[in-house]
């Protein structure tokens, strides 16, 4: 690397100095990930739009407001129950764009292929991407492929980028939630993460779980057709519902209070999480969204969501409060309270 970084010059409240190298936790969607963005990328890029840290950036171009997003996919295994890396790559970016209230229009796909990867597998992934794009109503218009030496990749890594137009007058963003808002989740949580774990090498526990990977732009369209009083949307992927709620709580400077008993956690996810010592609140989802909406509009929104195939399990899980801004608190099953913090790195299975 010729471009030498000035490690001492970083302006950051909590420096990364205790990890001089990238560790896996920097990709876990927790505190380490956000520190990397805030302390390394933001100062280097100096972009006011990036600083909003939405699922997608909203920028103005030619009089239109565009929601623009990019996402990289390094999932292992490449094929898992209910889908593959191709479905994820398309839907991930579709959903990031949809979280600004925009309908995704065009998308790019970059492939980093490992020498030796079976072409047949790549074809299956490409077929899935095409089908997912058609289902979401988005067009793949440009792409790139590179090949790396055997052993330097896990078959294929995919990066997708895309954009859509934000309807005029819409101001949905992680910083727009207000005290009194109701928090709605569109359905069962923790499904994707546990479906992947259930087939990961050395951990095959045969849970009857398939990924919930799906394009959410149709659901968002149906929601916006009913009410424009949606303040914030987030698809709780990596880091799960807990991380997404924390991001909104911090960006909007509201408190969030959730009721643990109201969380829709399917039996198989709960069982697998119990065995592994994981908390479903931190497990990834790929076809679910969280909505912060004004209380008066919550019932209408719920009705609209439940009428859509991807929102049938929509339910209220909590509310935004003026108390404890930036903090997420859960009412426990037996009536106590606990803080639902952002996790530091990756969620680690407990020893016993």
């Amino acid at each position: 690397m010729s471009n030498v970084l000035d490690f001492e010059g970083w302006v950051c409240p909590a420096p990364l100095r205790d990890y001089p190298n990238i560790v896996m936790g920097h990709g876990g969607g927790g505190k380490l990930s956000s520190e990397l963005v805030e302390n390394l990328f933001l100062p280097a890029f100096q972009s006011a739009t990036l600083e909003q840290l939405g699922d997608s950036a909203v920028v103005e171009a030619g009089g239109a407001r565009l929601a623009f997003s990019t996402d990289s996919f390094v999932v292992r295994p490449l094929f898992f129950p209910g889908g593959n890396i191709g479905d994820l790559a398309v839907n991930g970016t579709v959903n990031d764009i949809a979280m600004s209230g925009a309908q995704p229009l065009y998308m790019s796909a970059g492939f980093i292929l490992e020498e030796g990867m079976p072409i047949r597998q790549l074809a299956a992934i490409a077929q899935s991407m095409g089908a997912a794009a058609r289902a979401a109503g988005v067009t793949l218009v440009t792409g790139d492929t590179k090949v790396v030496d055997r052993g330097h990749g896990d078959g294929v890594y995919i990066t997708t980028s895309g954009f859509g137009v934000v309807p005029a007058g819409l101001r949905i963003g992680p910083g727009q939630a207000r005290p009194g808002d109701v928090v709605i989740v569109s359905g069962d949580i923790g499904v994707h993460g546990m479906a992947i774990l259930s087939v990961r090498e050395g951990l095959e526990f045969g849970a009857p779980l398939e990924t919930d990977c799906a394009p959410l732009n149709g659901l968002v369209e149906a929601m916006l057709a009913r009410t424009q009083a949606i303040h914030a949307l987030r698809d709780p992927t990596r880091g799960g519902v807990a991380s997404a709620l924390n991001e909104i709580a911090i960006a909007s400077q509201v408190g969030v209070r959730i009721i643990e008993r109201d969380l829709p956690v399917p039996q198989a996810v709960r069982a697998a999480c119990e065995i592994l010592g994981l908390d479903p609140l931190y497990v990834a989802n790929e076809g679910k969204l969280l909505a912060f909406v004004a209380r008066d509009d919550a019932d209408a929104l719920l009705e609209a969501m439940r009428a859509h195939p991807l929102g049938r399990g929509a339910t209220i899980i909590g509310e935004a409060t003026a108390e404890h801004p930036g903090m997420v608190v859960a009412r426990t099953g037996i009536g106590g309270t606990r803080v639902v913090d952002t996790q530091v790195g990756e969620q680690l299975p407990r020893i016993c």
Partner: protein, 366 residues
């Protein structure tokens, strides 16, 4: 979920809280021995709902937390070797040694794997005969049988590339040490249910007699914990000290005899240093003479590594129940799960991490 929801029922929990409130007339200090119980107490907010007179003291029962810094440094030295594949349970990875953790070693090229059973490590050793496969065998009596089985399996398979870094610790000597301590305030114990499901309950009778202290074998779900507390308070209020089993669905008096047989074969009792507490005589297990060839400490010659603990971190006092995590001056400041000073802030079973994760808000308010 069958056998879980029944033990999280809010109505029954409410009734138990009422019962405990009704029978409590004086202040009592009760120690839950196991980190899993601490986790459950804080995660469910049980401590906030108990009457003020009942103080729960968090015991030394988090296996990750009591593993001495020195042993972590030994693990790091072994894991950094290019010929070693180092296998560990997940939550050991973030525990800081004196200068780094296993994640950092991994980022520098160390071959470090999270496994879910020590037998997975044996499997890796079988598949990769050119690699030295080391399993980090820590924990209480609960995790020990699986580790013992892994050693037996490795012996049966004639594996010469498998070894274990062993630092098992035992609950009864820790209870003795706490009761012998002149500063201990503990008046009753919730004994660790899972440990007793392996070892049975017979080791606890003599402790009850010697220290005249109620010991109630207790489970981990909210109702289990509450029932354990209720029975302990009932004894204390009546001036009694008995061994009681509030976790009979998992624990029998003799325990798991086949597991005990394997343990007796593979391990022998030894003195152990507990992180933050110090040396407790006869409080751990090491590999017995026959299995010493599987001892990673000998194989990789790391016996000479000596490490001092951080002076800021007061996890020792937390582990002995002398202070609450949020009474440590470093809590939430110099020491957070992000930059932990001690293992109690790292493991999900650690008292400091449990406070930080779940209880911080409430205690900030108080």
């Amino acid at each position: 979920m069958k056998y879980l929801d029944e033990f999280r029922d809010p109505e029954l929990a409410g009734r138990l809280f009422d019962d405990i409130r009704r029978i409590t007339t004086r202040p009592w200090a009760i120690m839950e021995v196991c980190g899993g119980q601490t986790h459950s107490i804080i995660r469910n907010g049980i401590d906030q709902l108990l009457p003020d007179q009942i103080e729960l003291i968090h015991g030394p029962g988090c296996p990750v937390c009591v593993t001495p810094l020195e042993l972590i440094d030994k693990a790091l030295a072994i894991a950094a070797r290019p010929d070693v594949t180092f296998c560990s349970f997940g939550d050991m990875l973030r525990v800081p040694g004196s200068s780094q953790d296993l994640f950092k070693i991994k980022s520098e090229g160390g071959d470090i794997r999270i496994v879910y059973s020590p037998l997975d490590a044996v499997k890796i050793a079988q598949q990769r005969p050119e690699r030295q496969v080391v399993f980090f065998g820590i924990g209480f009596e609960t995790t020990a049988p699986a580790n013992a089985m892994a050693i037996l399996q490795a012996e049966r398979l004639g594996l010469t590339n498998f070894s274990m870094l062993v630092s098992h610790v035992l609950v009864p000597p820790a209870i003795s040490a706490i009761m012998e301590s002149p500063v201990s305030r503990v008046q009753g114990f919730l004994a660790a249910g899972h440990v007793c499901s392996v070892m049975g309950t017979h080791q606890y009778g003599p402790l009850v007699a010697r220290y005249h202290v109620p010991i109630v074998v207790t489970g981990f779900e909210p109702l289990d914990v509450l029932e354990g507390i209720r029975r302990t308070v009932a004894q204390l209020e009546a001036g009694e000290a008995r061994l009681d089993n509030a976790y009979a669905r998992a624990v029998s008096a003799p325990g798991n005899l086949p597991a005990q047989k394997v343990l007796a074969e593979v391990f022998e009792v030894t003195d152990r240093t507990w992180r933050g507490i110090g040396m407790i005589p006869q409080s751990g297990w090491r590999l017995s003479a026959r299995f010493r060839p599987f001892d990673a400490e000998d194989r990789f010659n790391v016996g000479h590594i000596r490490t001092e603990e951080s002076s800021l971190c007061r996890s020792g006092e937390v582990l002995q129940g002398l202070i609450k995590p949020n009474q440590c001056p470093a809590f939430g400041k110099e020491c957070t799960p992000r930059m932990p000073l001690g293992a109690t802030m790292v493991s999900s079973e650690g008292a400091c991490a449990a406070y930080y994760q779940y209880g911080r808000f409430v205690h900030v308010d108080a």
